[in-house]
Symmetry: D3
Subunit: 256 residues, 6 copies
Amino acid sequence: MKAHSQARLIEEMSWTEFAQAIVQDDVIILPIGSTEEHGPQAPLGTAHFIAKYLAERIGKLSGALVAPAIPIGNAEGLMDFPGTISIDPELLQQLVVDVCKNFIRHGAKRFFFVNGHGGNNAALRFAAMQLYEDHGAMVTCNEWWTLMPQISEFKAHDHGGKYETSMMLHIAPNTVDMSACDTQQIDRLTEEITFDYGFFYKGAKLQLNVPTGRIAKNGNFGTPSEEADGSLGEGVSATYAEYCAGIIHEMRGIHL
Amino acid sequence: MKAHSQARLIEEMSWTEFAQAIVQDDVIILPIGSTEEHGPQAPLGTAHFIAKYLAERIGKLSGALVAPAIPIGNAEGLMDFPGTISIDPELLQQLVVDVCKNFIRHGAKRFFFVNGHGGNNAALRFAAMQLYEDHGAMVTCNEWWTLMPQISEFKAHDHGGKYETSMMLHIAPNTVDMSACDTQQIDRLTEEITFDYGFFYKGAKLQLNVPTGRIAKNGNFGTPSEEADGSLGEGVSATYAEYCAGIIHEMRGIHL
Amino acid sequence: MKAHSQARLIEEMSWTEFAQAIVQDDVIILPIGSTEEHGPQAPLGTAHFIAKYLAERIGKLSGALVAPAIPIGNAEGLMDFPGTISIDPELLQQLVVDVCKNFIRHGAKRFFFVNGHGGNNAALRFAAMQLYEDHGAMVTCNEWWTLMPQISEFKAHDHGGKYETSMMLHIAPNTVDMSACDTQQIDRLTEEITFDYGFFYKGAKLQLNVPTGRIAKNGNFGTPSEEADGSLGEGVSATYAEYCAGIIHEMRGIHL
Amino acid sequence: MKAHSQARLIEEMSWTEFAQAIVQDDVIILPIGSTEEHGPQAPLGTAHFIAKYLAERIGKLSGALVAPAIPIGNAEGLMDFPGTISIDPELLQQLVVDVCKNFIRHGAKRFFFVNGHGGNNAALRFAAMQLYEDHGAMVTCNEWWTLMPQISEFKAHDHGGKYETSMMLHIAPNTVDMSACDTQQIDRLTEEITFDYGFFYKGAKLQLNVPTGRIAKNGNFGTPSEEADGSLGEGVSATYAEYCAGIIHEMRGIHL
Amino acid sequence: MKAHSQARLIEEMSWTEFAQAIVQDDVIILPIGSTEEHGPQAPLGTAHFIAKYLAERIGKLSGALVAPAIPIGNAEGLMDFPGTISIDPELLQQLVVDVCKNFIRHGAKRFFFVNGHGGNNAALRFAAMQLYEDHGAMVTCNEWWTLMPQISEFKAHDHGGKYETSMMLHIAPNTVDMSACDTQQIDRLTEEITFDYGFFYKGAKLQLNVPTGRIAKNGNFGTPSEEADGSLGEGVSATYAEYCAGIIHEMRGIHL
Amino acid sequence: MKAHSQARLIEEMSWTEFAQAIVQDDVIILPIGSTEEHGPQAPLGTAHFIAKYLAERIGKLSGALVAPAIPIGNAEGLMDFPGTISIDPELLQQLVVDVCKNFIRHGAKRFFFVNGHGGNNAALRFAAMQLYEDHGAMVTCNEWWTLMPQISEFKAHDHGGKYETSMMLHIAPNTVDMSACDTQQIDRLTEEITFDYGFFYKGAKLQLNVPTGRIAKNGNFGTPSEEADGSLGEGVSATYAEYCAGIIHEMRGIHL
């Protein structure tokens, strides 16, 4: 017997159901993840699982349709770690544009990208630009770890650290091995160039194309993953989803 | 507590687990689906759900690693139906090549593509060719509906018909709405050109670039979906997975 | 003195003649060949010569215009054999699309692709799809060796075997060296994987990206080329051309 | 019975014959034509027929192998005339590079491009550059109408005029309709900008991206085609082929 | 008489001078600008002029070679304003990669990108990634307006505002028209979505693909350009150049 | 205080100034240079400096707007010389098309390309063709060294020789080192193939893809650079600019 999830997942709908739904609400939520190392304790699918989970949660609150999650992103800087897969940013951009273009053809006009991995950001921003230029579509793109520090007490800025591990403990605890947690030893490039979720030189952030593996052997950095806790993941998720549902409400009111 | 599914899903493994596993077995199963109409009774994700399910089942039997499923394929011919999304075959090919190339970098040598949608076939074959040329990797590609009639009594050749609907009733019955089943009325192009899962002219199949929507208004054809049954889906799955595990066994024995 | 061949070859017409002709009949026949090994007895141009010959023969029967033949296709799997040339399927697709696009600009609306080589098939199908999507053009694509078994007693399924050699003996006997015929010794990949114009595993066809050269040292397989006969080639050609002229008649009646 | 043409055409050779030949002489002649208007009297295939004919003639004199002729080139500037087909220069370049790359894989090292159409020149030069950069291959490219005035009394610079029509009268007289000859009326763009096989401003040539059709309604210009004569075509062909065979002799002596 | 500028500009050196210099120091500074609106008072070349000026200043302090400045970048979001030119990020990325690749061929190993425009950032980061992957080259990328607030009292975050106008008053005062300064009236998208050098929703930054022109009619925003002052520009330049020369010193010490 | 150069340089104008100017005159001059060796005496930026200078001079005489100069072109054949940078012709073509496309969006209709380097020619011609096809824009492209011999006594055909060195002595004498002048020793490829700004065989020019470095060790050829003189550079510039201003006048009168 047909029984939809609470969130309206497009892949669970028939084409006739989708046809009716898109007429009533032209917003689509698109989760974009990545398959990449997240330290020895968290799974390769971390960014994918989180993006998918948050998208569905925003879907439930806002009533917007949720597109199939894209499980692969641009993780070039982590390619030294086995199991990581990465596609070129151009390929990711084209993939996202093509998917949205198809939805636009059938009535979608506004998109909410839930991005699970920082390396995807530029490709998604360019996709958004192109969708506006070529199709007049409105797109917003969101990253929970960038947003949280701005609107809450959650200082969620790590990679395979306290926050991402907490999210996975909440979403899919069976994929986490807390016994493998290991506070990362970070190497220095030079005496003057330090590393703290990014390189720093005399107090300012330094863009440097040196892959993570060269300075963080285990692949995770940021606050220690040993401190992770599932309830922290739930708190972040709830705060994030509510805020994002608010944005979607706002987007519906913008004239296109 | 970490507790893997029976199948070894790469996205649930940490990079350290993957690093150990790929050394012991260099085969990776890659499911490729599609998001496209499957009639009014079956979900848009049908091809994706089936590919993912079958890949995991083969993974359990064979012990080979299972990559994240790609949910989108080439469904150009079905773009008249709302909710269908399609990417160019070149994009799909590049996506698959890039994903496999990354795994090859970390030790994979043999790939088993579980394809859930006929429109993907050519792109996957070209990807396989390229992976051999550029990386010496061995690839086999498999479609359950093509294979079944050759090795069993299951004449599984439809689109949103008896067999695909049966598979979904077995895999995710909550996504099927049997009350929406509707034996498709098929239109003709000319008096002489008939249609039966493809165009025919005087008894021979005719390749013609006319989209499905022009002749099948509901989007499904083949044997009536009203006859679908979950146990049929289970039977097909079991037969298919066992046969494919045999191929993987054989592939391991081929010198590269 | 100007004296056209019986078939209306576009390259032999002046632009003023073409301009008049396309107004009266908007169908164009496009032969696509390949330059690739066909065993030690048949020429590298076999697929090209056959496509060109059959296209002209269909042209005569149907009155449709015949475009210049494309002599090169996708023969990646045969690249181990000297003299074989191959272009990427994307390049072939773009080439065919561009050629047709130009004809469409000047009035063509329907295309009949006469394909001389199996490796071209996917590229041609995608070209057809694109021509419909972007230009609303109707395309059919045909392969004589696939068609023959469906409509006649000719079981024409080989590569450089009885049928292809017979075609060349009919079309250009001076390019065949019957004394070089050699029934191909076929190697096995494993005990369980056999080869018979394709790999087979337990009775079902197996897509495997292993190039022909690895299992067929001479490059030809299928029925023995020693049995080839020019009159067989004539029989196949006559049956094929008549059937295809029928399709063209049918295509003219489809509303675009 | 196998009986080769005097020129060694690769498409008429079996792969075993090619394998032996390329070891003895690593030069390949590649004819590149175009399908484009040449006035009301000459066929659309003029540039293609001439390139093919001259390549075979050089092949006979020099003993070098002759590749299949490419019948389509870049004729963008003539697209106003029905029957003209044109591909992008990048596509032509890639096509030529891919074809040569394949021959290089099997032993070819030097290429002689016989170009039948001016619009192809830049693409062929870039292809040559790329073949040197990526494969260390030596390429020369030749155009008969540019060469003739430098080494003979033949002032062969027209389009569908006296010289090209003479060539066709020699090569394939049945494709020429001398009764349709018509001295072209040339329009001016401005009082100061004149046209004579190219625009001129105050005595100097002016590159201007205005298509031919805007100033030459019939599509041909240069010396009047009414003066064409088959024996002139024979004279040009003989002179050209002998000179080019000399270049090939010279190329064989250059260390690579 | 040859007399170099104090900075060692590659375009002013002969190839023999460059050949000697690159052996002694393998760092190259590459300025990348943009041609885009900067309000009614500042010139379209603002980002280009600043990048070029700062690169030369860093060159003087550090002794590193300075490459020709790229005057065009990705300014898609400003395309509503006449005179703005923009290239796709992929094109910019390829351009930068190709330029650096050439320098690498002749001995360069480290690059310092001086970026004058925020829209270029992602393309430059991807170029850096690619240069590491394909050539093992080290790249850092720097933006003065992002850096200043981290290391000084200069809160240089505007577009055509106080800081950019001050820079131009210092570098090329003749290109600024202070009488045209006009504090920008900023429109809102909705009641809840505000704008302050970017969109904000409830206190957090909101990525939204709405072009600048829709909310800022004059094209400039940030602190009022009326407050601009040349000495402020000199102060920023001096601080920035000294800091960057320090980074270059550090880069030379990193093992590659 | 704002004080424009005599030439109307777009990068020195604000967007509001540009918006007014383009309405009154729709012609834009675009200089395209190259960064490449020009012998031991002339700077790597020679082609770039000359193109920029001539464009501004034509701008002053004609009143047409002058776009930012593109400093990099296609110099593949000179890549053996350190400091030379080269981009693929396709990249250059796309760059030029994108820049012009943007100007067209804001009112430009006619373009005058001032090309400083022969290797750019084909890319610029294809860009022109594309701008006509896609945007109906008129483009002319000009090279001073090709033009001069047709309209004056200046036989300006060299590379880093008398003429180019004279131009640099006039434009930027501080970048020339006359003491480094060295009449180039030219090597031969074979006894029969000579070199004089291009290869020659029996008196006719021979296109051969052999890079300059193989036959001219110093990188310059043509008339000896020792004879260079600044006043000669001034003479060429004056003649060229006046002629080109005349063409622009003519272009304004052509109906589009």
